[in-house]
């Protein structure tokens, strides 16, 4: 008897269908990253053209205190944004996740609208509020006509407000996903075993929802580090972050090799964060 052909091994026709996707990923994900790395070791001539040599000069410049401080500041802002998003978003995610079915659905829809609205529009909304002649100062002058008002626009506070406002929904949704999967029996068991609300929260609920927090951090921290649009709009040129510097090297200063080196270091930072968060999320998912 002839055995049936193995249906699981691709033959030439399946390989032919796979080719476009493999080619796409190689051409537009692998190759650009490789070329970026090559560029980061190159130099540029006086008119901004790239000279293909091997030099560590760009990396020496990246590790100059000026740029290290910018990196540190970017990580600091993104970190602060992430912490605020977790603290503000966790109770919301918890509330939605534990709500009754019909309410849960309504609250989720309510959360979807800001989530799907372009971050540019949402950032612009804050500009209209925080600008010197904006709504906040208008309201203050309405109450106290002699008050000087705040000049919040183009300050670090404005940048963090903009970042939190843009990324908060992306923290709430993954945490909600974890909270929804939470087994109520485990919480009751902890109560029955004599744990107080605080203890239940810190030793049962938090560890069980850690994958959600890790996923949310990935969606908030990583993009926030490299974000230049919100920081441009809310911070002006006064608070340069790593995204602004990279953007500037490519489009204004036209020092592509240096921009590539900054990008390569940022990529390393991103890979490290991703790896840590992935391990954190995975360990809590199957505690084997």
């Amino acid at each position: 008897m002839k055995s049936a052909p193995d249906r699981r091994t691709p033959r030439w026709r399946a390989w032919l269908l796979l080719t476009p996707m493999i080619a796409w990923l190689v051409l537009f994900v692998v190759a650009p990253t490789a070329i970026l790395l090559v560029y980061s070791f190159c130099e540029r001539d006086e008119v901004g053209r790239v000279v293909f040599t091997f030099s560590l000069e760009n990396y020496r410049r990246v590790f100059d205190p000026i740029y290290l401080r910018i990196f540190a500041r970017s990580v600091g802002y993104a970190g602060l944004t992430t912490v605020i998003c977790i603290l503000a978003g966790y109770p919301v995610a918890y509330c939605i996740g534990r709500a009754r079915e019909e309410w849960r659905h309504r609250l989720l829809l309510l959360l979807m609208v800001p989530c799907w609205t372009s971050f540019l529009i949402r950032t612009y909304a804050w500009i209209t509020i925080l600008k010197e002649e904006g709504l906040l100062n208008g309201l203050i002058r309405l109450v106290a006509p002699t008050a000087t008002g705040f000049d919040l626009m183009y300050t670090p506070t404005a940048v963090v407000i903009g970042l939190v406002y843009a990324y908060l929904p992306f923290m709430i949704l993954p945490i909600y996903g974890s909270v929804e999967k939470l087994d109520g029996a485990l919480i009751e068991a902890a109560h029955d075993l004599g744990a107080g609300p605080l203890r239940v929260f810190s030793s049962v609920i938090i560890p069980l929802t850690l994958p959600g927090i890790a996923a949310g951090t990935l969606l908030v921290f990583v993009p926030a580090v490299g974000m230049f649009a919100i920081t441009d709009l809310m911070g002006g040129a006064r608070v340069p972050l790593i995204g602004n510097v990279i953007q500037n090297q490519f489009l204004v200063a036209r020092d592509w090799p240096f921009g590539a080196a900054l990008g390569a270091v940022f990529m390393g930072l991103f890979a490290l964060t991703y790896w840590i968060l992935l391990r954190l999320g995975a360990r809590e998912e199957d505690p084997a």
Binding site: P10, R13, L17, L18, P20, I22, W24, L25, F28, V29, P32, I35, L36, A88, G89, P91, V92, Y94, C95, I96, L107, L110, L111, M112, V113, P114, W116, T117, S118, F119, L120, I121, R122, T123, W126, I127, K131, E133, L135, G138, R141, Y165, E188, H191, P197, L218, V222, P223, G226, A229, L233, I246, F250, L251, W256, A260, G263, F266, M267, F270
Partner: protein, 273 residues
């Protein structure tokens, strides 16, 4: 007939929990208000006659009229639409076929491929932007529509692929086997049996791809030419200059479209259940 099982009366939660519950609900309301208040203000002031935002000087549609007569903005909206539609179609094609092949076949390198697919989903947009810019410069390809669409497909198709893969995992493998045993070619089995089952996931993935492309700023920023500037590029340029009631009006139109979109996708989701 067995009696319906009786459940013990719901255990009384410690009173502390109820206080916490109240606080959590209140906080949720506060956060939702924080998320909505700026949007509401933005929309309200799009009807204000004053060019500056503080003082309410009366109701007007003037800014909407100006938006609809502003040819660079209309051109940008058209560009955005073309780019979003083309990149959605390509993403759906690439993502659906890719998900099916990764699900259906076992081969060396499948895991690597799966990891590689996830990279554009999580990679910071600015890195994708600059690396694509360098690639296009290296191969001597000019920036513009093609470059922007390539960028958009690269970060959109993995979302389609993941959505379709999730659906495939829940699919009975016997369906395809039955089709094959009844004499269908693998291609016919895919097209006539599998694709109809995947429709909800494909629709969800397509909606995702469309929104991602429509809203994208960063990758577009590095790959666009002046002629292919999308709506987000123009809005970014305008917002950098300062307050402009036309932006309020444009934003209001966008927000209305977003609300309609959210309800539409919710409706589609209900239909497909």
């Amino acid at each position: 007939m067995p009696a319906a099982p009786t459940f013990p009366a719901r255990r009384r939660w410690p009173s502390g929990i109820r206080i916490v519950d109240g606080a959590v609900s209140t906080w949720t309301a506060v956060v939702l208000a924080f998320l909505y208040a700026p949007i509401v203000v933005l929309v309200a002031y799009s009807f204000n006659q004053s060019r500056l935002n503080i003082v309410w000087q009366g109701f007007t549609f003037e800014w909407y009229r100006q938006v609809l007569q502003n040819s660079p903005l209309l051109r940008a909206a058209q560009n955005s639409l073309v780019i979003a539609v083309v990149s959605t179609l390509l993403s759906v094609l690439l993502g659906t076929v890719g998900a099916w092949l990764l699900h259906r076949y076992r081969f060396a390198g499948a895991r690597t491929l799966q990891t590689l697919v996830a990279v554009p989903m999580v990679m910071p947009e600015i890195l994708m932007g600059i690396s694509l810019l360098i690639l296009f410069a290296t191969v001597g390809m000019g920036l513009g529509f093609t470059a922007v669409i390539i960028g958009h497909v690269t970060f959109s198709f993995p979302f389609v692929l993941v959505a379709v893969q999730a659906r495939l995992r829940g699919l009975d493998p016997a369906m395809e086997e039955a089709a094959l045993d009844l004499g269908a070619t693998p291609l016919q089995a895919f097209w006539l049996v599998i694709v109809p089952c995947l429709r909800p996931a494909i629709v969800a993935g397509a909606l995702m791809a469309f929104t991602l492309s429509w809203d994208e700023l960063i990758v577009t920023f590095f790959t666009t030419s002046a002629a292919s500037a999308t709506l987000p590029i123009r809005v970014f340029g305008m917002a950098k200059v300062g307050l402009n009631p036309m932006l309020n009006a444009l934003s209001a139109i966008f927000i209305l479209a977003t609300i309609a979109f959210v309800f539409f996708s919710d409706y589609l989701r209900k239909l497909s259940r």
